[in-house]
Symmetry: C2
Subunit: 311 residues, 2 copies
């Protein structure tokens, strides 16, 4: 892949995504001691950056593959993204979800006409069910974060941010499955002049932090974090990119995540999910390091149950 | 006053306000059966349209008057707006507040360096305290809604909306003290081609609805509404404008307000106060009447205690 790969991905998905706004806040800049540029993927179609990767993955399929449909296992934003992107392209989407997934997540997928296939709530059952649909329907499997086309699609949020703010010193993203930070790191490498990329991760799910130290993909034994989108680990497609192009990972505590989320809600009047607040929490935790810098933050999504908040 | 009065007000306040964005939502359009254009004054400085009226009122004072300061009684957004506008202009702001006002409101005023003068929690005490400051300090009294310069300042939100969307069939605003709808009605009269203006009001504080029927300013006996910004009544400066230029007032129930607020939060990922949801609730309640129309809605503010929500 090269710079052209990312440009092609961007051109391919443009008709299917919003060019989301970049917002600033004088009050938050004063609080953080730096200049913050928030790329608002919470305003993206279906409410998260995942739309970019899902759209690019489906658009990269042949006509023959599209006819047979796509399948993924996700109970989060990627399920909705695949459903919506597939719907727009007239492609059938099979979404494998644990039978105990929250009703609101199932409703989200059904809104976009994805077909839900329920399975037991274990990783093994999810994989087996997805595999059987692959075989039975000939559907193409799409991975939420560990697939090249998804990573290239995700890179386009940072490409747009850098187009608007070419002088960023660094960009921060949350780190969950690794698809967003890998795409962002590629974008910074090809489209900026030395802009660093840093990840934010909950202390309670710090697999990426440990992976960069050990040099192999680490996992989490438990996930006691409010940042529900980050309860996962890296994959073999995105980990080498992260090793090569990501500067470091900063870990934050649960109360720091909740505090950062509340600050963005109250001061910017926008709704972001807990996962999305992790990079801002990392900035607030390291004010000295980031002092007076121009910092881009990818606000990854805004799908949150507003009747059940952590504050 | 004439069209020029409003243009002058707009030019006067431009350096002190944000030109707020106009947002749309395909999902909400589908739900409502019309084309909605949301003017996002929740993103305005200090979080509400009140900044426009407060800035225009202070900028309209003579240098001599500015030296002696300004005084208002408000426990809501106008208190913060006066404090911030005064601070930016180097003018002293005295804010009369009931001693039992919520801490968060007092903190808001102090953030913008307004001086709080506490008084008993009765309308009489508020007025007496404000009067004594007027006499003692020579400060100019600013009314939150019933003052020409405030109304002209408020009109500029609709002027900007009509600049961006000249083909609106109607604009809806919430109705509290009457300052926003009066300004909006003047803007529609002078800057549109037949765009109607309609008010949204809680059934539980429907003084403006009754005032338009009786032909005199009615008040409310109680205020059992979640729309805390609308617990007040019209005044002698704005009522004649409303009588002349406002098409009608639509009343909505409490559950309709809360439902509309939650829909905007969940679908648009933006934070609005309950008062602000009343016009959208009025649209949802009258789908047939508004079918396929181009409708502007002034989202009046976003200052809400996110730890204490009605849903």
């Amino acid at each position: 892949m090269n710079k052209q790969t990312l440009i092609q991905a961007h051109n391919r998905i443009k008709p299917f995504i919003h060019k989301t706004p970049v917002l600033t806040s004088q009050l938050l800049d004063e609080k953080a001691g730096c200049n913050l540029y928030f790329k608002c993927e919470n305003f993206q179609k279906m409410g998260a950056f995942k739309m970019r990767g899902a759209a690019n993955a489906i658009l990269s399929l042949s006509q023959e593959e599209r006819k047979r449909g796509v399948v993924t296992h996700s109970s989060g934003n990627f399920a909705q993204a695949v459903s919506l992107a597939a719907k727009k392209l007239g492609v059938k989407a099979y979404i494998v979800m644990p039978e105990n997934a929250p009703q609101v997540k199932k409703d989200g997928v059904r809104t976009y006409e994805g077909e839900i296939i329920e399975c037991d709530s274990t990783p093994q059952a999810r994989e087996a069910t997805a595999n059987s649909i692959k075989e039975e329907k000939g559907a193409t499997f799409l991975h939420p974060s560990n697939q090249d086309e998804v990573i290239y699609g995700n890179s386009t949020a940072a490409i747009e941010l850098l187009e608007e703010q070419p002088n960023l010193d660094l960009i921060l993203t949350p780190v969950g499955g690794g698809g967003l930070i890998a795409g962002t790191a590629l974008a910074a490498h090809y489209f900026s002049n030395n802009c660093k990329v840093i990840g934010g991760e909950p202390m309670e799910a710090d697999d990426a932090y440990r992976s960069l130290i050990s040099g192999k993909i680490e996992t989490n034994e438990s996930f006691h974090t409010v940042a529900d989108g980050l309860r996962t680990h890296l994959g073999d497609r995105n980990f080498p990119i992260i090793q090569k192009y990501v500067d470091k990972i900063i870990r934050v505590e649960e109360d720091e995540i909740i505090n950062a989320m509340q600050l963005i809600w109250e001061r910017m009047k926008i709704i972001i999910e807990p996962s999305c607040a992790v990079p801002f929490a990392a900035v607030l935790k390291n004010k000295e390091e980031f002092k007076n810098k121009n910092i881009g933050i990818i606000l990854s999504g805004g799908n949150v149950d507003v009747t059940n908040l952590p504050f």
